[in-house]
Symmetry: C2
Subunit: 357 residues, 2 copies
Amino acid sequence: MVIDIMNWENNVRKVVPYVAGEQPQNNNVIKLNTNECPYPPAPEVQSVLHGFDSCLLRKYPDPDVSELAAALAKRHGLSKEQVFVGVGSDDVLAMSFLTFFNSDKPILFPDITYSFYDVWADLYKIPYECQPLDENFRIRKEDYQKQNGGIVIANPNAPTGVWEAPSFFEEIVKANPDSVVIVDEAYVDFGGESCVPLIEKYENLLVVQTFSKSRALAGLRIGYAMGSEKLIRYLNDVKFSFNSYTMNGVTIKAGVASVENEEYFRRITAKIMETRENTKKRLAELDFIFPDSKTNFIFASHKHVPAQEIFDALRKNEIYVRHWNKPRIENYLRISVGTDEEMKTVLDFLENYLKEK
Amino acid sequence: MVIDIMNWENNVRKVVPYVAGEQPQNNNVIKLNTNECPYPPAPEVQSVLHGFDSCLLRKYPDPDVSELAAALAKRHGLSKEQVFVGVGSDDVLAMSFLTFFNSDKPILFPDITYSFYDVWADLYKIPYECQPLDENFRIRKEDYQKQNGGIVIANPNAPTGVWEAPSFFEEIVKANPDSVVIVDEAYVDFGGESCVPLIEKYENLLVVQTFSKSRALAGLRIGYAMGSEKLIRYLNDVKFSFNSYTMNGVTIKAGVASVENEEYFRRITAKIMETRENTKKRLAELDFIFPDSKTNFIFASHKHVPAQEIFDALRKNEIYVRHWNKPRIENYLRISVGTDEEMKTVLDFLENYLKEK
């Protein structure tokens, strides 16, 4: 006789959670494993923290996050009603899956992409079908021209770094008037071109961006979606059915300060792109191959030495990069672009390490 | 022929969102409509804001929120593994509904209670059945001793303010080994007694609290759940399937600072209770009736003047309270307890207003 004394567990939603890159507490580490920005956020963020009156915190924050939505709308040439703000782009994407992907047909996304997509689909019991990238890690747009319950594509894609032009996505959106198409532009600020201008033409296109990479504010948790007023209204209805107040007052003010310093934003993203291009050159000289990256990371494989071995060697020397034991990409490392000094240390180490192989 | 050009909308989750109390921008208002604390948060919160180095924000925050979970665990005599932290108790409760209420049987909660419960149930398509409070707004515990897919009860209840002892809930939990029982203690710090000690005995009991009322940090967004390690693990699995990083670094540090100043916490909650008791006396003298409140609000009805009329009169004089046009409670006003000065203004106004009726 089996005595089931734990019956309450039958009603629990059991999931396999997303595993984020490690956040080591040791500050001596060269941390190139979670695509953080190597530079501090805009200096005005510090001023917001210093100047914030804690007495204001006794009251609830603005549930509409109006000030930040307005600042983002202005920057992207949209109206405030076309912008939805959340606790990082993960929050925005999770909310979007819940809001827009309610069909019995499978949603579509690439086989190699941000590994949270299948986690959200599983969480909400959304059927999905992965579409294989081609042998050059490129998306085949014909794969997204079949029946589906929604589409989500990262552009540039992660962890590959490969970017496609807005015209490519326009074809996909045009072919799918029955679905919401989400373009996840977490890395678009490092040389890509955004699909935001397509929003005016396609009511079913949602573009998601984040403050975590190009604005050096991973620690503050701000992401946002841009789309037609109708899409944003649906998204807000679900958000207001979940948690009225997601963004605290400090975060809202600091976010606005970041958006308003466009010059600083341009300077640090340009610097990261410069470092990335220099890193590409040296990686190629060291016999690495990689798809051309338009992001703040490089997805590289060595012609002779297995990725796992290089990963272990780097790790032993307190250099953290990201490696997945997954089909098709187990021989690649995703290396975030750090400062010039950090990249020099890493590349010098690799040069010596590979010489000895 | 009907041309359906908006087919993507068929896949949208359509919901009727929760409506929070107004957040007027006008500072002249006496704001007694959202149960905020009339005092500032612990002074150490200001020090955290002043001292926070914005450079730290370039990195992701601690996904486990360890420092704050540990501070809360210490305060409540629990282990860190028994505490889950989220973006306000709404986030914690929403996540708990998603995690624990996955049965075909209806979840149970009172007919008069926090009006987010049915919104979350609708959002996640969880069946539910409201159990009527008795004529004194008391919960009838026998209503919670039938088949169900989960139970959620606010204690003290809102908007009634009525509190039941932990022994009352122990009976409910004991009768429901097949369900997770959530006790929402948003208002427990104003004279109630917590169910937290029951956690050690019942693996299926989850107790939720918040920083928004008694810690004067509604604007910061911190809520937390306490339960068996197993419950908390399930909750974390779902959280990590939704958004790895919900709490930003500033919030974590400020939250810890608040928890560590127990003396300030006791002082402001005691002061609010004193003001509440004085307010009760004068309200009774003015012919109001109300269930005995153990919260930072009073749920009052006038013997002769309809609530809507009083609400309108208060509103015209820039005094905001809360009123619901809902069965059984349409003749009640929920009045948050403000400072002595604010309550004097409100009560003096009511005295004059009622004299003229």
